[in-house]
Symmetry: C2
Subunit: 127 residues, 2 copies
DNA sequence: ATTTGATTACGAAACAATTCGTATAGATAG
DNA sequence: CTATCTATACGAATTGTTTCGTAATCAAAT
């Protein structure tokens, strides 16, 4: 077991992780360009965030060239799992079912989504 | 429309809200006593938090007696909805279904939970 | 070579969240 | 009445997050 990973990215870090998970290897500029579409931020802000994420071990980077290449180090699924579990405990008193209903209730899932969830539940039941 | 409520309680605030939602009216001590069961905190820390929550409009309080009585001002369901929606956007790229599956996958919902969700989904489908 | 542009490094400011020590006031027991 | 206990008020230290200005470095273009 090497470095502990609390896997508690902040909100800004999560935004960046999203991009890294989707696109794989990125320069700071790559990430920044996606970010500015949805929010207002300076380039050096994004840079600094990614440097801090590196210090924390959330990402790794290749510094062999002038322009560094970043890559997510923490796993998307595990991070999602961690955050969902925390929310279940923290916000829904430990009831996964209540979270699920809340999620489906107002967010108006599409028919396809609902069907795929049903299918998923059927598989879960068969055990 | 009067005061906007961003309903973005911090983690500590959420812990306190949980207790207030469950028990209704509470003194600081009531809340504190529940809190210390699961975490390490001084009484004045809890007090301060609740005072700040009051400033923010998250709770109201009756100060007519020496010992103040606190009560949640923001709605549990709405707060949950808000937080879930944010998580869907922020962590699951907008897919409620993915959140649901993640929630059910590892958290090992009980058979009863799964059944009640199925029922819920059937009702949703009939529309 | 010099200028221009893009990049990383660094440090600090601004803000927010958390924690707690100390002061003060009211209630109660002796 | 006085000592003690419990409560709130206040301020400040600490820590974490976010933001950005400025400097240094390197590459490419002129």
């Amino acid at each position: 077991m090497s470095g502990i990973n609390h896997s508690k990215p902040t909100e800004s870090e999560l935004e960046i992780l999203q991009i890294l998970w989707k696109k794989g290897n990125c320069t700071v500029r790559d990430v920044h360009e996606v970010l500015v579409k949805s929010k207002d931020a300076g380039y050096t802000t994004t840079l600094k965030l990614m440097q801090i994420m590196h210090e924390k071990g959330l990402v790794e980077r290749d510094t062999s060239a002038k322009t560094h290449i970043y890559k997510a180090l923490i796993n998307q699924q595990k991070t999602q799992q961690h955050l969902v579990n925390k929310m279940i405990d923290n916000v829904f008193n430990g009831s996964a079912a209540r979270l699920v209903m809340q999620a489906l209730g107002n967010h108006s899932a599409s028919k396809e989504e609902i069907d795929s969830i049903k299918e998923y539940l059927d598989q879960l039941s068969k055990k």
